[in-house]
């Protein structure tokens, strides 16, 4: 095997024969751009390239990715064979961050086009604006952007795999500009009325905000490794207080991804932020190159690297430098460049990884390099021949090979000397092999999901964190989901097949084999033992759990590779949808119009799955809005052109309804996760769950409210067609939060919570209002947005598509392959013929009316309700609601253990006024392993605010309270129907409450505005 090592080293020594060069230009044709999964460069943007890498800087204008402003670095890749347009860009974007102030570009200049043989240089000029209005006061107090000009200069030298970035802050005023701009007392005066703020000494950190894309796994050397997200949260416990912002100190930031990787580092500088407060970061490793990562959220990581001078004089400026590195797909290729930037002496470490039994080379294995504390400091990915190679600073290390289908070996020590080569031949434990062939009840090779479920030792059962014994996120191992209920099951492997056939290598062991096809089927389960090097095969026939004549199941909130936070290939997405028994899949990538239809066809799934093109219009803090069916614009690098930053909701709805749909109101608009903090429309506009109308937040909620005019109450629009009543496994958002009994340890802010009662805030409103209660308030007032269920799935295991889903009635006999169309689906949603569910189907009828219908009916109304569910998702309680959310009946659902739910009941109402009726089924059983638990808390803005709150009293802010809904739990059955509206008097359905005044009159005529002097004089003088 020695020849393998030698060959690997020799190959690695080869270099290209192109002469070094660098070049900058305005993009004149789309063919000049980069290409790849996240490439959005277009004509008018700026191209920077040399013989190694290519970069695109977006032109001025609104942001095209996740953030509000253009002018960011949006595409980056290595130079590829095949030239322009054939790249592998996976970068979402990178832009400077001055606290939470972004660079809003006013112009971009090519300072040197590189024809002189020197570096090619492009500069983005602009002003500072809030990236996140919610923390605008903090931006104002720390940075004071109004008097600053901001610049970011990208300098690309010939022959280098990094771009040097100079970021400049210039004081344009005639006075001095301090950092922080205000002292804490002034911050309090400014309205940042947070208890304790006046006692703080603050700082104004500056750096870069990289969004490296969903395909990329973030890596930071040391304690974090690939576990960056949770390591940041762990670092908060180490914080010693301001002026040093809390967060994780890293020597560099890198990533791992398919075919390309990225990195960020800084030179030694006197302005280094971490070193400026080194005594406050003493319990973390600090180097001259240290950077601070205070959070990573929604794909955005903040990397603070510079501490500005205490004061900038008039017209003075401050510049800090960073380097953005592009690698070949692993950390090592990034670190090699960082060593080069730092002029670090290195030796090489390389070799080959082979199977111990067959000696076949292992492609795609991950070789971790560990330091003396067994923390990862580097990672190399083996090539198709099993070879790997990287540079390391001289020292003693150990290596460990990670392959998800093999047992993890122990670390092996080795040393590296400067200028020397260290080669190893690594033999890893063999795999086992399993083959499965599954057919449905009709003998068809239908799409199916296949799981291998293992058992860990009982002493490790919940609440022991599985990350501590079952898998290592730090080493980059995949997550193995667990039952999360005190039992010991975990998912070792999961496959979503297009035809029920599987042939896969797995880690040897004892497993339960599960085969499933969504909630309309029972699960097949049998035990298998697969020894190392052995092969097992099984044939399986699935059985239906219940009949769903006329109903199709759709997931109308799905993400794949075009979303910056997914990275899942579209082919995998459509396979997962079909295997979970979905009949309809709407593509809803973030700010990208995607159509699954071509991939559905090429995957042979035409008969099983209907794709609907769409998009999730994703604002940074106004909410997320789903539109479908949309028309894909082939001329746009993101499937269609649209705007959102600074625009009121109606503008967004108009685009989704009409502009992007290709015709007047051809599209449907759904409000995604309306009650999620920051990401939810109802949450951000402060919608009262009792009235479905806006209210003015008070106290700290008001401090953190977005301030733009687009957020004014009068701009709230009800012009949407549907809302998600259940999104994924976010059960906590469905109903008003009820205080647990017994209460957790206090203290709690007043008013004091009552066990078993809805938790109420100072303003008398539920502290965590429910989506369903808000929807009921809308129904009371004559609005009828269709209640939907959707998954918001970004990945696969642990984030499965179809949980939740929406059952839609398209007509008896039409729920067969090819029997229904996209038009049938859209019509069913418009008609509200829908049931939001994660497994059970509730068929509710009154006479000829089904869910969503209005029927004229006087006298007693006998509502027939039939609940169906598979044995692995049995609901146990049926609740029937009517006007005002009043509960008409709570009925136990009778079940037979191990058998599907088949429950029928009649609930008789005697309405005296026009009414609506809704049925809801809930259950307590754990749906594992078909629908995973939420074991790790989802990352949201709460984390950022909590990170910033150290030393402050934010206890009155609901999300920081210690009495709030748990966000980790296993998944249990849930379904809710759309209403049947009963027209008692036969003169048309009249809502039980007065309709909501629609106070937005677009284009309305106004009277002449009063004289501005009179308006000003009418203001009372402030005489405290």
């Amino acid at each position: 095997m020695r020849w393998l090592v030698v060959a690997a080293l020799a190959l690695a020594a080869c270099t290209g024969d192109q002469a070094p060069q660098a070049h900058a230009q305005r993009v004149g044709a789309l063919e000049e751009t980069i290409g790849g999964p996240h490439a959005i460069g277009r004509v008018g943007d700026y191209l920077l390239e040399n013989d190694q890498i290519r970069l695109i800087i977006a032109d001025v204008g609104p942001g095209r990715v996740n953030l509000p402003f253009g002018g960011s670095l949006v595409d980056a890749d290595l130079v590829r064979p095949g030239g322009a347009g054939h790249g592998n860009d996976q970068l979402a974007e990178l832009l400077p961050g001055f606290m939470f102030v972004g660079l809003n570009p006013t112009s971009i200049t090519i300072d040197n086009d590189g024809t002189d043989g020197n570096a090619a240089v492009v500069t983005v000029h602009g002003t500072g604006n809030d990236l996140l209005q919610m923390v605008g006061l903090l931006d104002q107090g720390l940075v004071g952007p109004a008097n600053l000009d901001l610049e970011q200069t990208y300098r690309l030298h010939p022959g280098q795999r990094y771009v040097e970035i100079d970021t400049t802050v210039k004081n344009t005023s005639t006075g001095e500009h301090p950092f922080p701009f205000l002292d804490p007392t002034q911050l309090d005066d400014l309205g940042f009325a947070v208890p304790g703020i006046e006692n703080l000494q603050l700082s104004a950190p500056m750096g870069q905000l990289p969004l490296l894309g969903g395909e990329q796994d973030l890596f930071a050397p040391g304690q974090a490794g690939f576990n960056v997200h949770f390591a940041i949260e762990d670092s908060y416990a180490l914080a010693k207080g301001f002026p040093a912002f809390p967060g994780m100190v890293v020597d560099f930031l890198a990533s791992r991804g398919p075919g390309v990787s990225y990195g960020l580092t800084v030179p030694q500088a006197s302005s280094n932020y971490v070193n400026a407060f080194a005594n406050l970061y003493a319990n973390q490793p600090v180097s001259p190159y240290s950077m601070l990562i205070p959070f990573t959220y929604a794909g955005v990581s903040a990397v603070f690297m510079a501490n500005p001078p205490a004061t900038l004089g008039p017209q003075e400026q401050f510049t800090f430098t960073s380097y953005f590195v592009i690698g070949k797909g692993d950390v090592s290729s990034v670190l090699d460049t960082i060593y080069q930037i730092r002029n670090t002496a290195t030796g090489t470490f390389g070799g080959s990884v082979v199977d111990a039994q067959t000696e076949a080379p292992l492609a795609g294995a991950s070789v971790l390099v560990l330091d003396g504390s067994n923390d990862p400091i580097d990672q190399m990915t083996t090539d198709s021949g099993g070879a790997f190679l990287g540079h390391l600073a001289p020292g003693s290390y150990s290596y460990q090979v990670i392959a998800n289908d093999r047992l993890r070996p122990d670390p092996v020590p080795f040393t590296v000397a400067a200028g020397a080569q260290t080669g190893v031949l690594i033999q890893v434990a063999p795999t086992a092999r399993i083959a499965v062939s599954a057919i449905d009840e009709l003998g068809r090779h239908a799409p199916a999901k296949i799981l291998l479920v293992g058992q860990f030792a009982p002493q490790n059962a919940f609440p022991v964190d599985p990350r501590t014994f079952l898998y290592s996120l730090k080493l980059g191992e995949k997550q193995r989901t667990t039952a999360f209920d005190g039992t010991t099951g975990f998912v070792e492997g999961a496959w979503w097949t297009v035809d029920g056939r599987l042939d896969a290598t797995v880690r040897p062991g004892d497993y339960d084999l599960y085969v499933s096809r969504g909630p309309e089927y029972e699960v097949h389960k049998e035990h298998v033992t697969i020894a190392a090097g052995s092969f097992q095969a099984r044939q399986v026939q699935l059985q239906r759990a219940y009949s769903s004549d006329g109903w199709v199941a759709g997931d109308f909130h799905l993400h794949a590779a075009p979303s910056t936070d997914s990275g899942l290939p579209i082919a995998t997405r459509v396979a997962t949808c079909a295997a979970e028994g979905l009949d309809v899949a709407a593509a809803t990538d973030h700010n990208f119009v995607t159509d699954y239809a071509p991939t559905i066809a090429s995957s042979g799934l035409d008969g099983w799955l209907v794709g609907i093109p769409g998009m999730e219009l994703t604002t940074f803090e106004m909410g997320h809005f789903i539109g479908y069916p949309l028309k894909v614009d082939p001329g746009s690098t993101r499937g269609g052109e649209f705007v959102w930053a600074g625009h009121p909701p109606q503008d967004l709805f108009d685009q989704l309804h009409t502009t992007l749909a290709g015709g007047e109101r051809q599209g449907l608009v759904t409000i995604a996760h309306p009650r999620q903090a920051v990401l939810g429309y109802f949450a951000q506009f402060f919608i009262d769950q009792a009235t479905a109308q806006t209210y003015t937040p008070t106290g700290l909620l008001g401090v953190f409210a977005p301030y733009g005019s687009e957020f004014s109450a009068s701009n709230f629009s009800y012009d949407f067609d549907a809302i998600e009543l259940i999104t994924g496994n976010h059960f906590e958002d469905i109903h008003n939060f009820v205080a647990p009994n017994p209460l957790p340890p206090g203290p709690f802010p007043d008013p004091q919570p009552v066990p078993g009662q809805v938790v109420i805030g100072k303003d008398g409103r539920p502290t965590f209002p429910g989506t369903v209660e808000t929807w009921f308030a809308m129904l009371d007032r004559g609005l009828q947005p269709t209640g939907m269920g959707a998954s918001d799935a970004h990945h696969t295991l642990g984030d499965e598509p179809g949980y939740a889903r929406t059952f839609l009635f398209v007509g008896h006999g039409k729920d067969t392959p090819g029997g229904y169309t996209q038009a049938d689906v859209v019509a069913a949603i418009r008609a509200h013929h829908a049931v939001a569910s994660n497994a059970p189907l509730i068929e509710m009828t009154l006479g000829t009316a089904i869910s969503g219908d209005t029927i004229a009916h006087s006298g007693p109304a006998a509502v027939q309700i039939h609940v169906s569910a598979p044995s692995w998702a049995q609901p146990d309680t049926l609740t029937v609601y009517t006007n005002g959310g009043a509960i008409v009946a709570t009925i136990p659902i009778t079940n037979t253990p191990g058998a599907p739910t088949d429950f029928t009941t009649t609930v008789t109402l005697t309405p005296t006024t026009d009414s609506w009726v809704v049925a809801e089924a809930t259950g307590a059983m754990n749906m594992f392993p078909i629908n995973s638990a939420t074991e790790l808390p989802p990352l949201d803005a709460t984390v950022i605010i909590q990170a910033l709150s150290i030393g402050l009293d934010l206890s009155s802010l609901p999300i920081t309270s210690n009495l709030k809904p748990s966000r980790t739990h296993f998944s249990h059955p849930y379904a809710i129907t759309n209403p049947i509206r009963i027209d008692v008097d036969g003169n048309g359905w009249t809502p039980p409450q007065a309709p909501i005044p629609m106070n937005v009159v677009r284009g309305g005529k106004r009277g002449k505005a009063p004289d501005v002097r009179a308006q000003f004089d009418a203001l009372p003088e402030w005489n405290p």
Partner: protein, 164 residues
């Protein structure tokens, strides 16, 4: 958010600027609410520094020019307070400029167009051409706002006094 009303009079241009780092609403709305329930904050005394900071921030990105020449502020008045029902401060500025005797192109420019809304109204000035955009409506996201200015008729104009 910054809301700007440009009022063109016979001899002066007047800017009514509403600026609040905390919340943004049309100036008319702010005015209406503030005039009925303008409340002092919980502080013992208003901070002059706060007023200065907010006033500077409010005006920093704005420039009023005629044919590219900046107009000189004749007077600046500022009022600060706390928005009722919230903890957010706001400032309202009334800034007057003497208009030149001749005609030209009157431009109101903002370096912060994304967060600036501009409206304009003609207060019997007799100085504007017929090509002016519709008055008394908000224009969002405009970097510069142009009006054609004509020479005034009648008697000469007298400059106003500067005050706070």
């Amino acid at each position: 958010m910054r809301t700007v009303v440009l009022q063109v009079e016979r001899c002066e241009a007047v800017l009514l600027v509403g600026y609040r780092p905390g919340t943004g609403e049309p100036t008319q709305s702010v005015m209406a609410r503030a005039s009925t329930s303008f409340q002092p904050p919980g502080k013992a005394k208003p901070s002059d520094a706060l007023r200065d900071v907010l006033a500077v921030d409010a005006m920093a990105p704005l420039a009023l020019t005629v044919d590219g020449k900046p107009l000189v502020r004749a007077s600046v008045r500022a009022k600060v307070g706390i928005e009722p029902g919230s903890a957010r401060p706001m400032v309202v500025l009334l800034v007057t400029y003497a208009l030149p005797a001749g005609g030209g192109q009157l431009a109101l420019a903002s370096k912060d167009p994304q967060f600036t809304r501009i409206s304009w109204q003609d207060e019997a000035s007799g100085r504007l051409g017929d090509d002016a955009p519709e008055q008394d409506r908000w224009y969002d996201g405009v970097a510069s706002f142009l009006l054609t200015l004509r020479a005034p008729g009648g008697s000469a104009c007298v400059s106003s006094q500067s005050s706070r």
